[in-house]
């Protein structure tokens, strides 16, 4: 479904990705862990070609995305949902307009159908009352959930979550984790989740990868991570200051 081969990216002297390889089978969830500033967001952005890597291949549904024309790439992007770490809601538009934006451009839905779809997705993220608010009137956590709704609204086959629960309280975080699992089961979605939140990581992952110095230093199931002897893995799991 999604396969990444030998991906390299540097900014000046800073090597961020140094030959990354991994594969995400269809309908599964891969969680990427890693310290702040290590290159997780850069990796996700390469997958949708927001950042051009220096070297490497990315196959989605068997096609190397760097060989696609812009038109083909955009067809592909319609099937990919991307939740930005910063939410990235359009701040000149209301919540409703934010959610209608992809629907108006990529579906033949009538206004009434669009309205229904928006209500449905807002209920899913538990924010039906926010429909006519501007992004500036929302809290950070609310923005995150609206952004989540916007990235899910076209029922993408692949979802890339960049820190879906940062800035959310533990209760809402668990709701989001449940939502990720539920969506995956219901629509057979293929997910990549970047997170620092161990609850999300352990509950949603089929596979966990740990990024460090440009490459993965751990790859395994949640159970394997829990039993790992790696220092950094232990630090991620520990609740103590040491």
């Amino acid at each position: 479904m999604l396969k990444i081969e030998n991906l390299h990216k540097r900014f000046g002297d800073l090597v961020v990705l140094d030959g990354v390889n991994f594969e995400v089978p269809e309908g599964t969830t891969t969680v990427i862990l890693g310290r702040s500033g290590i290159g997780k967001s850069v990796l996700l952005k390469c997958i949708v070609r927001l950042i051009e890597p220096d070297k490497g291949k990315i196959f989605i549904e068997g096609k190397n995305i760097f060989e696609l024309t812009l038109k083909e790439l955009n067809e592909l992007r319609k099937n990919i949902g991307f939740l930005f770490q910063s939410s990235a809601l359009y701040d000149s538009m209301t919540v409703k307009e934010n959610l209608a934006f992809p629907l108006l451009r990529h579906t033949g839905l009538t206004n009434k159908e669009i309205e229904e779809r928006i209500k449905e997705i807002l209920n899913l993220v538990g924010l039906a009352e926010a429909i006519s608010k501007m992004p500036s009137e929302l809290s950070g956590g609310m923005k995150k959930r609206i952004a989540l709704a916007r990235s899910l609204i076209l029922n993408p086959k692949i979802m890339l979550y960049d820190e879906p629960t940062t800035g959310l309280d533990p209760v809402t975080s668990k709701e989001i984790a449940k939502l990720i699992i539920e969506m995956q089961k219901k629509f057979k979605m293929t997910n990549i989740v970047v997170t620092h939140d161990m609850v999300v990581a352990l509950s949603t992952a089929d596979k966990i990868l740990l990024l460090e110095n440009g490459n993965f230093i751990f790859e395994g199931t949640p159970e394997q991570l829990l039993n790992s002897e790696l220092d950094i893995a232990k630090k991620f799991l520990s609740t103590k200051l040491d």
Binding site: K45, V48, L50, N74, E75, R77, K78, I80, F82, F84, S86, A88, L89, Y90, D91, S92, F101, P102, R105, H106
Partner: protein
């Protein structure tokens, strides 16, 4: 000295980037579909944003020009030419250029800041990922709006300035408004109006494309947004004055008196 060289270098690199950005605009602008609602929305916003300031400026240009010229013309006993002189100065030069400069200050900085903040908060990236071309949706619509809006504003400013000129005239002379208009119409030819208004399409385009270019390519951080905003005012004002001097020369060749 190093700073000066840096800023000259910077100016030329902006002009280089701007040129390819402009070419891209011309490739995209001839490709339907058009985001008509978005264009109209921007035009409305531009109008609202600039209406009061250009009204005041227009009136004062006419008034001051009239008051300054009156004694000079009186010296030669040529006071009857005052309305015609005001009209020609306003229509050929002052109306278009001053409106364009105000437009650059108000609208150019706004576009730079708007797109700049969309860039640094990843809204432009989000649009790209959702398979909508941000260049078409954000840039093309804004540039079309500024290009169409500035000529309309200029015509309005010209009219308001003539009103200001009339006020200046009646301070020292007895003249009915209809006679004033008569004198204005006698002096003004089509060959004064056409170049005066048509150059504002170019100025409007410059304001839109410079603001969009700098905003679209803003560097990360709030500092980048501020820089995009102020730099667009500086660059577009400079370009407006440069282009104006070229157009004035061309006009004199095309419409010799």
């Amino acid at each position: 000295m190093m700073k000066l060289i840096d800023s000259i270098n910077n100016f030329f690199s902006v002009i280089g980037g701007l040129t390819s950005f402009t070419l891209r605009f011309f490739v995209e602008v001839f490709r339907p579909p058009y985001e008509i609602t978005e264009i109209r929305k921007h035009m409305d916003e531009l109008g609202v944003k600039t209406f009061s300031i250009v009204s005041i400026t227009g009136f004062i240009i006419g008034l001051v020009l009239g008051m300054q010229s009156q004694p000079v013309l009186a010296r030669f006993g040529a006071e009857m030419f005052l309305p015609g002189m005001i009209a020609l100065s306003v229509i050929r030069e002052l109306g278009p250029v001053l409106t364009a400069l105000i437009f650059a200050g108000r609208v150019g900085s706004g576009i730079g800041a708007e797109l700049g903040s969309m860039r640094v908060t990843e809204q432009i990236d989000a649009m790209e990922v959702s398979a909508v071309d941000p260049f078409r949706f954000l840039v093309v619509t804004r540039v079309i709006a500024t290009t169409l809006m500035l000529p309309l504003l200029t015509i309005y400013v010209d009219l308001i300035a003539l009103l200001g000129g009339y006020v200046a005239v009646i301070i020292t002379q007895n003249m009915t408004f209809s006679y004033y208009i008569q004198l204005v119409l006698d002096a003004v030819r089509f060959s004064d109006i056409i170049p005066g208004v048509s150059k504002t399409f170019v100025f409007g385009f410059v304001v839109g494309i410079v603001g969009s270019y700098l905003g679209f390519n803003a560097s990360k951080g709030t500092e980048g947004v501020g820089k995009a905003s102020t730099t667009s005012v500086v660059i577009s004002s400079l370009l407006i004055l440069l282009i104006d001097s070229v157009i004035v020369r061309l006009t004199l060749i095309i419409f010799p008196d």
